[in-house]
């Protein structure tokens, strides 16, 4: 990883102070993980932004319909999923911190916690879908459900993708493939997982709460 040294004040420092200041002010110029995943994350964020704006402005033209059918959603399921994803994201933070401290078993443990909570998210979402499908609701029911089902399923598939990445990382971590000096794979998977969480933090209030 490349680093850039920022020196804030050179006119009022001694050589000893320079040395201390330099070590304290070194900041990485690249975010954690493989740089390629960050361009992928930016592309994903743009796609979700288009989805969010399309939902909001379609609702603007159909306020009564959106408000009526939003009431059919289970907001408790939405908040459970938000808490699960946030905690899963936190577990991934702990996994990254663990491998940086050379605690391989702790890293694997935290990754398993993250996966378990990702599983909770998928289960709750599947139960929601099952409830809707039993009522005969599908993409053609109305414009609200078209957005609700497509937007949440699009995100659902990102959770699945994130979990596949986390499973691969967990296996590699278990085999001892990562170390305090070489753990780019863990950081890369973690960054993707946090993106999946970040997007849900906007999706949940937009679809389940705002009216």
């Amino acid at each position: 990883m490349r680093y850039r040294v920022q020196i804030l004040c050179t006119s009022c420092s001694t050589p000893a102070m320079d040395s201390a200041a330099n070590s304290a002010l070194v900041r990485p110029t690249h975010p954690p993980g493989d740089l390629a995943i960050w361009f992928f994350i930016l592309a994903e964020l743009l796609v979700f932004a288009v989805f969010f704006l399309a939902y909001a402005w379609t609702r603007h033209a159909n306020v009564e319909l959106f408000d009526e059918f939003q009431l059919t959603l289970d907001r408790r399921a939405g908040v459970i999923n938000t808490l699960a994803l946030l905690t899963s994201s936190y577990a991934v933070v702990r996994a990254v911190a663990a491998i940086r401290s050379d605690l391989r078993r702790a890293c694997v443990g935290w990754l398993l916690v993250a996966l378990m909570l990702g599983g909770v998210f998928l289960l709750v979402k599947l139960l929601e879908y099952q409830h809707h499908f039993e009522l005969g609701i599908n993409l053609r029911t109305n414009i609200f459900y078209m957005f609700y089902l497509s937007l949440t399923f699009f995100h659902f598939m990102h959770v699945v993708m994130g979990m596949i990445i986390l499973i691969a990382i967990t296996f590699k971590a278990r085999r001892g493939a990562y170390s305090p000096t070489q753990h780019t794979g863990v950081e890369t998977g973690a960054s993707y997982w946090h993106m999946v969480d970040l997007v849900w933090l906007i999706l949940f209030p937009l679809v389940y709460v705002m009216r």
């Binding site: 946030l86 994201s89 960054s191 970040l198």
Partner: protein, 89 residues
């Protein structure tokens, strides 16, 4: 499941941020459950959502410690999305 504790000093702020995120989520949920609606509520809920997303980017993704355009880029993205959504409510 046994998970060992790590001693990384950067974890403490992340733990507080995680608790803050859970708390803000419950505030958003409560606003919905109590039947708050309208532009004012939408603005508050959107503000909370954008704040939560920025906290995740800063602390969980680690952008707070990264030099350059990455953190401002996410900030601008969140502002534009929030304003774009807010104008429709």
């Amino acid at each position: 499941m046994h998970v060992r504790q790590t001693s990384n000093p950067l974890l403490k702020p992340c733990s507080w941020v995680w608790l803050l995120l859970l708390g803000l989520t419950l505030v958003t949920f409560s606003l919905g459950e109590l039947g708050f609606d309208g532009r004012g509520t939408a603005a508050v809920v959107l503000g909370i959502a954008a704040l939560k997303a920025q906290l995740v980017a800063d602390h969980f993704m680690g952008l707070r410690a990264v030099a350059g355009f990455w953190r401002p880029l996410i900030f601008i993205y969140l502002v534009l999305v929030a304003v774009g959504i807010g104008l429709a409510f």
